[in-house]
């Protein structure tokens, strides 16, 4: 285990944050979450089914001690996102929230001005805001400056599995933003997670890449290992890239035949 890190007032060891959506059963979701080693799980807030008041609920299938992070998925304006965060705080008893204000249904890219406006309202109301945002360094700087607990640039569109599409933007964000950078959305496989961590991101949040895999529980473990490998490599300080070879074996003492 590496160093711990904090998001707002919450401290974590695991740098993998997982979603709980798209699983075929609560049990698979629980098993995958355990296999991922994640200490924080995102949830959405939706209407209770009034016709099935005794049905099972997701919260019974979250490992003990896990932090539940409510999101504002599906919100397309500031007011809905703010109200949803307030409901999340009431439901879960803490003010750490994943803010997403969607600007476009097809790409699910965030509405950047609306996200910034909602974040401002929420920060002033005492929330610890984790905003999902485009990989735009200026948007990330604005969100950090107004007091967000982290910024969460997307790696690629939500659920796309395209991987880290713009590592250079992520590097600029990492260099210019003082709050933790959490890559949110777009990864497809374990090497994508490793790349994000090798860049120096604090953590990574994913859902579809695990839940949509043929073997979700096994993929959850692969992601855990990818995140750990990437983080260890980042902390180890990789060698610089060179155009030409440098011999690994000594040049002195060669036999002369």
């Amino acid at each position: 285990m590496g160093e711990s890190y904090t998001l707002g007032s919450h401290t974590f060891q695991s740098r993998l944050i997982v979603g709980s959506g798209k699983y075929d059963s609560f049990q698979t979701q629980l098993d995958a979450t355990v296999a991922s080693g994640a200490e924080m799980v995102t949830v959405a807030l939706r209407r209770v089914d009034l016709t099935a008041p005794k049905s099972e609920n997701l919260l019974s299938y979250v490992p003990e001690g896990t932090t539940i992070l409510p999101n504002t998925a599906g919100c397309f304006n500031v007011e809905d996102a703010v109200t949803t965060c307030q409901l999340g705080r009431e439901l879960l008893g803490h003010g750490l929230v994943k803010l997403e204000v969607i600007g476009d249904e097809r790409t699910l890219f965030p509405d950047v001005p609306a996200t910034i406006e909602a974040a401002k309202i929420l920060v002033e109301d005492g929330f610890e805001v984790l905003p999902y945002i485009t990989d735009d360094p200026v948007a990330c700087q604005r969100l950090a400056a107004l007091g967000c607990a982290a910024v969460m640039p997307l790696a690629a569109p939500i659920g796309s599995g395209l991987g880290i599409r713009n590592p250079t933007n992520l590097r600029i964000i990492l260099e210019t933003v003082e709050v933790p950078v959490v890559v949110d959305a777009g990864v497809g496989t374990a090497s994508d997670a490793a790349v994000a961590m090798e860049l120096g991101c604090t953590a990574i949040l994913m859902n579809t890449a695990i839940a949509g895999a043929k073997a979700p529980v096994q993929m959850a473990r692969a992601m855990r290992l990818g995140v750990e490998a990437g983080r260890l490599a980042y902390e180890s300080g990789r060698i610089s890239r060179r155009l030409y070879a440098t011999a690994s074996s000594p040049l002195d003492g060669l036999a002369s035949f």
Partner: protein, 70 residues
């Protein structure tokens, strides 16, 4: 006997007795054991206030819970 109040709960037309509180509505809907959060006309009402929050005619009540999401 006072006339019941017509309200909407999660978009569904619903009736509650005149003078009913949010706690009464939750009991009527058999949701007492669920982890829920409630907004009345967009204002979040803490669970500790359910018993003293009176329902008004035409209230729009949203009762939400956690579901799988990313």
């Amino acid at each position: 006997m006072k006339t019941p109040l017509d309200i909407r709960v999660n978009g569904e037309p619903t009736q509650v007795a005149a003078g009913a509180t949010l706690a009464d509505l939750i009991e009527q809907l058999a949701l007492g054991c669920r982890k829920i959060a409630v907004a009345v006309n967009r204002t979040v009402i803490p669970r500790s206030h359910f018993a003293k929050h009176s329902i008004e005619a035409a209230d729009q009540i949203e009762i939400l819970e956690a579901v799988g999401g990313g």
